[in-house]
Symmetry: C2
Subunit: 622 residues, 2 copies
């Protein structure tokens, strides 16, 4: 078993495909981790904006979260429908392309690619930041730890979907389980104490009230920030093909379970916060704690369960990047199938997944992590935009989809749900864009068009290649004429003999080219008659032509190139076959002992050559 096999698993045959398909229990960690961990930072993001309202802010948490949950339910129903309508993997890209046209599709593609790369970078970085604030003397190693986790994620994902699900199932259920325990026990205490539970550790006092009324702009910003809780919901729809049959059904069940869990978590956190009087803290405050930390301390105190919960949040956060690894390769493949990205993204690797997507995601993520030195706080505003752009386009696409399905039962209802969803997410997108434009949303606004232009350039190239290469006509065998064969020869030796023998097989029209420095005697002439011409004449072959080219400046490659191009001019319509004898050494370092002129010549012939010049490598093994 090779090292590669140990690290990445043995290669999987194409016929193993079915066995690699996953069920609901593996689907939740693979496609749900990103959505579920939103519960850890979504409510907090909304509550942070309510800090200036002090104790009054508490009353607004549940309504704001409820509004977000309504939007979440609409988006959920929309994606459920999408999965049913596009069982072969209906991400926003596919839905937008098929219903709204290529332009909208590219828009969704660019937004989603940026979203996934940011998800991976921000997810890893958030987990590591939590770790280093707990263990400060790791702070110097932030970037190394980030890159280490990235490498682990890449390796686990390269092992295939099945192994990834197995690896992440425990962290996911630990995360969900501990948060649910906090909510259930907290709810019980609320009921038992008539709505006024006594916290085991009291939450920090709320800030002084500086804003008394929730204005429309603050409300919108709070809502927009809280929408971070919805990112990751589209993940399942991109990955339908990863599920076992009945594919659409399993994917829908997975999505339903993820969304129900998310709703329970989000609502529970909001409700408990209100009941316990928990407000968010400024991130730069002394003894800063997250809302989850305050809530857990209030319900359970600071025992082992507190540390288990905080540990599982940290672990789940840094693994939430995995959703990007699950979806990015599938998205890149779908785009590449339409010729908008390099075709390598469509190749299934040794473990039956689109490995080049994983390589690309790993590369881009590590670039971002290195650029930001592992601390990506500033990127957080950026990445809700990609998600909401995708939501909006996908649902608008579904509206068109239902419009076309004239006889589908419940068509009107479907159209209403998706239309409402599109409008709601569209408005949210605008709010996020306006609220966060200066904070960094402009980067996304700039990157999306750049990516779209790049994809169009790629498409144009592939279209040209396809147009030029397509040849549905039968094989044309007219004008089959043997090529003119050119053999560069420095001296008469065994490799020259090998080239001559091969050349005589190909054509009767041989040109032996000998380049010599103008102040040196012609090196090959003494052997030419006896050793070369005589045997050829004896066997009745036509005599090859010896071309001596004196080189004024001692260059070898240039005069040879000139001669070949001139010969090609003189023989219009005929092929020129250049036979290049090449020494193959046993050890790589031995290459330094030989002139690399043949390599240079090959390159030049490729670059300066044309359709009629063919290069034949005659290897000589030492």
């Amino acid at each position: 078993m090779s090292f590669t096999d140990v690290l990445f698993g043995r290669p999987l045959a194409s016929s193993d495909e079915r066995a690699e398909h996953i069920g609901v229990s593996a689907g939740i960690p693979i496609f749900g981790l990103d959505a579920l961990t939103s519960a850890a930072y979504g409510p907090e993001a909304a509550m942070t904006l309510l800090i200036p309202m002090g104790i009054l802010g508490i009353n607004h948490i549940v309504p704001v979260i409820s509004a977000i949950l309504i939007l979440l339910v609409i988006v959920f129903f929309s994606y459920r429908q999408t999965i049913e309508a596009y069982p072969s993997g209906g991400g926003s890209y596919t839905v937008a392309t098929e219903n709204l046209g290529e332009g909208a599709g590219l828009f969704a593609a660019a937004a989603l690619m940026i979203d996934y790369i940011l998800t991976a970078a921000v997810g890893i970085s958030a987990g590591v930041t939590a770790l280093t604030s707990a263990v400060p003397h790791l702070q110097h190693h932030t970037l190394s730890i980030c890159l280490g986790i990235l490498a682990i994620l890449a390796i686990v994902n390269l092992r295939g979907v099945k192994d990834t699900g197995a690896a992440f199932i425990i962290p996911t259920f630990l995360f969900v389980g501990s948060l649910l325990a906090v909510i259930v026990v907290g709810a019980a205490k609320i009921f038992l104490n008539g709505g006024h539970p006594a916290p085991i550790i009291a939450p920090p006092p709320p800030a002084a009230t500086t804003v008394k009324y929730l204005g429309i702009w603050l409300l919108m910003k709070t809502f927009a920030s809280g929408c971070a809780a919805m990112t990751g919901v589209e993940a399942v729809s991109n990955g339908v093909m990863a599920f076992e049959e009945p594919r659409a059904k399993k994917a829908q069940t997975t999505l339903t379970l993820i969304v129900i869990t998310l709703i329970v978590l989000l609502f529970g956190i909001a409700w408990l916060s209100k009941a316990y009087g928990v407000t968010a803290m400024e991130p730069d405050a002394h003894h800063y704690q997250t809302v989850i930390s305050i809530l857990t301390s209030a319900v359970f105190g600071r025992g082992w369960f507190y540390y288990l919960t905080m540990g599982s949040v940290l672990l789940a956060l840094s693994l939430s990047a995995n959703t990007a690894f699950a979806d990015f390769p599938r998205l890149a493949r779908a785009i590449a199938m339409h010729d908008y990205l390099p075709h390598v993204f469509t190749i299934r690797g040794r473990r039956l997944l689109y490995s080049h997507g994983i390589y690309a995601l790993t590369a881009f993520t590590s670039i971002i992590l290195i650029l930001f030195d592992g601390v990506t706080d500033r990127l957080i505003p950026l990445y809700a935009i990609g998600a909401f752009l995708a939501f909006t386009l996908s649902q608008a696409g579904m509206v068109v989809h239902w419009m076309k399905m004239e006889k589908h039962p419940g068509r009107g209802w479907h159209m209403f749900v998706n239309g409402f969803g599109a409008v709601a997410t569209g408005i949210t997108l605008l709010v996020v864009l306006v609220a966060k434009f200066v904070a960094g949303a402009w980067v996304t606004a700039l990157l999306v068009p750049v990516l779209i232009v790049l994809m169009m350039v790629v498409k144009r190239h592939y279209s040209r290649v396809k147009r030029e290469m397509k040849d549905m006509t039968p094989l044309n065998l007219t004008n089959l004429e043997p090529p003119v064969v050119v053999i560069p020869m420095a001296r008469w030796d065994r490799i020259a003999e090998k080239a001559m023998r091969f050349g005589l097989l190909m054509s009767t029209d041989l040109k032996i080219v000998h380049i010599h420095s103008e102040d040196e005697p012609v090196g090959i002439e003494e052997e030419w008659d006896d050793k070369i011409l005589a045997p050829i004449r004896q066997q009745g072959f036509p005599a090859p032509e010896l071309i001596n080219i004196p080189s004024t400046y001692r260059y070898i490659v240039n005069p040879l190139m000139d001669y070949i191009l001139e010969l090609e001019q003189q023989h219009p319509g005929r092929k020129i076959a250049v036979l290049l004898p090449e020494l193959v050494v046993r050890h790589w370092w031995e290459n330094a002992l030989h002139n690399q002129r043949v390599q240079l010549l090959k390159l030049l012939l490729l670059v300066k050559g044309n359709q009629r010049i063919v290069v034949v490598n005659i290897p000589w093994y030492l």
Copy 2:
């Protein structure tokens, strides 16, 4: 005129060779700078060891320098004879090889190569150190300035011998002229004042006398250190071929002039030091000055002439590295002619010199400068060793040379001079080696055998190649059988058609290989009969064979390689021609859009292939 032409000069035709030859006046700066600048540090090196003797040390300077001068004269006569005996460039390497055998030659070669690389690094570094001690705020840029000077030297030398001579003639004569002025004016003052001149600026007082008598070990160390004044004398003998006719005569005149000047400078400095009571200062002393600086202040005071002299010393020192640039390429060429170094060193570049030697020297020198951060004081002891090893071997070689020339007039006298020289330099070598072993001479002692082993490995490789390639037999035309042609084909398109047409020209035995994933339908079968087989049958060609290979793990290259190797096994004695259709893109970045499988296959065929497998590139230009 291209940028390259402006920087390095236009290419020179081989017929321009004669015009590139130099006379005596260019020969002195090119081959003499290293030897002449020895006057700036040689006497000081000896005098530094006499510091513990205080004022008593003054009496020993002239005798020690006189002993060194006697050795210098012997070495001079020896090299004069060498030039005459080997007018085609008789460096120590050639002389040792031809007279003492390959082993001694390699010894001299290794010693000289190390010597030249060190000369270049130490020369540049010494000049820059002098500059930065004068202008301290340049100290942070020591390495950059060193590398800058190295780049200038490399560029000037790449322009050819003639341009190099022209560039260095003024610094050389300025250096020699100002030192001579100090000596002549100083000598006049000594005579006018009856042997007791009054210094304009008094030399610093000598150190307290702690050693009263000059013991044999201190004498030997002083002598060995002073011998640094002799390095560079062998340079002319390596470069005889650079001179115009009468070659040997001009080289001898150049050498004579260099040595006479050097003798005057060395003796003058020693004599003036004694008369003015100048002793050397510890380099880390407060207000440290070099002996030259003390002498010039004593004779001329601190006027403009003092600064001119010090400036010219500094400039000449940093340009003394140029001697290495003049000689190293010629030495490397001589070694490569004997197959002990890569053959590229024998190729004359666009300006008629052995450019690869200049590249190699520049690379090694910059590595040393970077490793030592531009401060190479510690390397100074190393580099007299290479020089004296070369002196000794060269003169021992000359003794053998004269022994063979039985009828040469004055043979006995020649043998005596060279023999005496060999013994004297040999003893000096031993003294330097023992005196400096711990200080760093062990590095040279270690590097020399390593280099010798490397050169022997290179030689073994070339010998094997020559043995295998040599084929003085006439062209063998028996068993000329057309190859089996293999064409990998993914789909039927225009490039596949081009490959088929070329394949049919080469052989009637065509194998079209189609690799398909085992879960996909065979992609080419529908077109095979109509579009390919039918026209071939119609033209009366034998039908090619279609080989469908299902690939379990979706690999393309591996199954193809396996098939080709198997085919080669099945057809012993026949050639296998693999036709590889290759897309040639217009822009380099477009390569990323195409699978680089053809490149991988080419590489694999070269590495895993053998004598009977030939690769034919069928290019398709977009």
